[in-house]
Amino acid sequence: MNAPCASGIDTRAGVRASGLVKRYGELAAVDGLDLDIAPGEFLGLLGPNGSGKTTTLHMLATLIRPSAGSAAVAGFDVTREPVQVREALGLVFQESALDRTLTVAQNLRFAGLLHDLPPRVIEERASALLELFDLASRRHQPVGGLSGGMRRALDIVRGVLHEPRCLLLDEPTIGLDLPNRRRIWRFIERLRARTGMTVLLTTHYLEEADGCDRVVFIRKGRAVESGAPRELVARLGRHILEVEAADLDTVFSRLEARLGAGLRDGEVAQFRCADEDVADLARLQADIGSRATAWRVRRPNLNDVFLWVAAGKVLH
């Protein structure tokens, strides 16, 4: 296998899906999804629970069969050439894919042999990767005794031991505390800097997707928005107005009349404002007066994009 390196990105490392569908009985978990990931690209697949992110990943990883449509990883078709696809990609599941009864080294040996790597190569790569992921001192410890963060790190090591051209990460930081989430991200960054591999990830933590080259929002199994995080945030608007009020319904409809469609997120209403609206805001605030218990104008972020897209609103 040609090991991709930072200088020469492997041109066969992309991911392509067109009209991908997965039906479970009546329910379409994925409903005509199109995806085009360039070799070396770092793409985030975002969307609310049940939007089809994991199902998409599992179809790309050949674990489940698409009901319709087609997909290819590194140029190999997921239904016709599943073994080649699995050879070209690394997959890190939401739940650990490790044997808790074996040691760190034994787990990596098992995973490496399953990928038909010679034991000497496994040794070398495991040493280098464990070093990279700060796990070198844990080598001979049983996996059951590792912390959650270390186990996740080891899971990623396991997923890239065979030097896949494309890495799929399903919620790589779910269930981890903030320091551990940061560590995992540092590891992924190091890995990308070293190998230049294509990375496709799903995540709930939107601030984490900021580092992606591009994000794709999916909703009800379809891609609804896509772009560089900064570009999507810019498309949302220059400012976000957040209002809290005891009688939110009245305030909401009055503001909607002036600012266009808003978003209700629990006790908070959100509106998108362009620069020219800002001058109006002071007047609006005076108008609403004490009916608003909180009134904030701030810069939008990817979380806002997520909320607007999840609510089914199209960005303009």
Binding site: T54, T55, L63, R65, Q94, E95, S96, F110, L113, L114
Partner: protein, 258 residues
Amino acid sequence: MRLRPIYAVLERELVRMARQRTRLVAAMVRPLIWLLVIGGGFAALAGADYQRFLVPGVLGMTLLFGAMLAALGTVYDKESGVMRMMLVAPLPRAWIVIAKLLAAAAAALAQALLLLALLAALGYVGRGTHWALLAAALAGSSLACAGIGVLTASFSRTLENFAGIMNFVIFPLFFVSGSLYPVRELPALLHWAAMLNPYTYGVDLLKHAMQAGADFALGLDLAVLAVATALAAAVAAWRFSRESAYEPMIRAVLGPSQ
């Protein structure tokens, strides 16, 4: 053909077995209780030769339990992360089944060899033992038992079924075979049941090798074991590769899809 993945599964099985001391001790104590306590007791009824007759039976018992428990480890694998590792490996699905079968057979064989050494030390392995045939009998029976094991595992999704499998698969296979009594002496119904049990022929082969009064021809034993192993492996591999059987398992392994 890639052999390293098969070796990986085999190695893991043996590493796990060596680590699980209690499993290993149980695998030695169980047959020895049958031989020394129950065999000793029944010798009073059936004559002193009964213990000698029982030696192939308890050797087979170790193979049967060892292979079945190892193969049923697949069910544990489904619930832990190990099956995830195997599912993303670049192998045809059927390969996982074959690897698991060979690993279970190897684990069973290792236990049987250990027991054989113990039996020899206790003086239960006669001078007339045909060693080459014994080797073939141990290998053939362990493969057949592992085949039945992976077949059973392919039908069970959760470990909760385990007690059921013990009661409805392993015990009947053991009791309705020639392990404890000559098949030809059994009443008609049990006789037929024993004849339909592939494990019977494994025990019979062991009896041939240890000259303990076999019931069937050598060729028949070998043929039945070969066919049973191939058939069980084929059905298990088919079930494992088949979409409808395999997707619910994927979902069980991966958790609910989103």
